[in-house]
């Protein structure tokens, strides 16, 4: 397998704070993501973006369609950066981020999923902006493999 080069990309999006808008976003996310990443990475990437976006929409904006959630995704040098921000009050992530839900709790698993699937998770001081880093297998190089003519 030889590599011919590098592929970087960046998506900047601002979407209404509704779960419906999140799903519209993911229709495009998947179409683009599948052309950019290996299948296993697509699942992990989508899951991370989902947890961050859902928290911003639900907790940050109270699902108010008049509010906006900002999302930036960048794939560069084998690293996916996910940055999600809302204009809400934030929260005490210093306490929450080490929480692990009891197995019979019905909520509170978003933070743990971020921790499990990401290589790094950082919040701004206020807690209304999160930056997630995920190492990606097939993200930057494309290999000719056996697809050649």
């Amino acid at each position: 397998m030889s590599s011919f080069g590098r592929f970087d990309c960046e998506l900047r999006s601002s979407l209404p704070a509704t779960l419906e808008a999140v799903e519209v976003f993911f229709v495009e996310f998947r179409r683009r993501g599948e052309a950019m990443m290996e299948r296993a990475d697509c699942f992990a990437a989508e899951l991370l973006v989902r947890e961050a976006l859902t928290n911003a929409v639900v907790h940050g904006c109270g699902s108010d369609p008049g509010k906006q959630v900002r999302c930036r995704l960048r794939l560069r040098k084998g690293r996916l950066l996910i940055a999600v921000a809302d204009d809400g009050a934030g929260f005490d992530w210093r306490t929450a981020r080490h929480s692990t839900a009891a197995t019979s709790e019905c909520s509170g698993r978003g933070m743990e999923i971020l921790r499990q699937y990401a290589n790094r998770v950082r919040f701004n001081d206020k807690g209304n902006a999160v930056t997630i880093i995920k190492q990606i297998e097939g993200g930057t190089r494309y290999d000719n493999g056996n697809q050649g003519r």
Binding site: R50, T54, S104, E105
Partner: protein, 102 residues
């Protein structure tokens, strides 16, 4: 649309769409509640068509487990994809569920 196949106190649920996530759980939650209210005690959730589950989806499955346990019932997840299986495993869901892949 979520599909339900019932036989006595057993039911198999096939969630509609290909995701169990924040946006899609209200419908599934209502259906599962009805089923338990109607006396189902042995619930199988067929994940064959499910590509994605998020923390809200996991929460819903746990909620279903909790309400069935209260009435002496049980729940099993079948046909989970590899990605979903790995997620469930990392979230320690096998402590409560019988989970099988496809």
């Amino acid at each position: 649309m979520t599909m339900v196949t019932r036989e006595d106190n057993r039911a198999v649920v096939q969630p509609g769409g290909d995701m169990i996530v924040a946006a899609t759980i209200p419908e599934l939650r209502a259906r599962m509640r009805d089923i338990v209210d109607q006396g189902v005690r042995d619930l199988t959730i067929d994940l064959a068509g499910v590509r994605m589950v998020d923390s809200s989806g996991i929460g819903l499955l746990i909620a279903a487990y909790n309400s069935l346990r209260k009435v002496g019932g049980r729940i099993a997840l079948i046909h989970a994809s590899n990605d979903v299986l790995e997620l469930f495993r990392s979230m320690r869901m096998h402590q409560h569920f019988s989970i099988t892949g496809n």
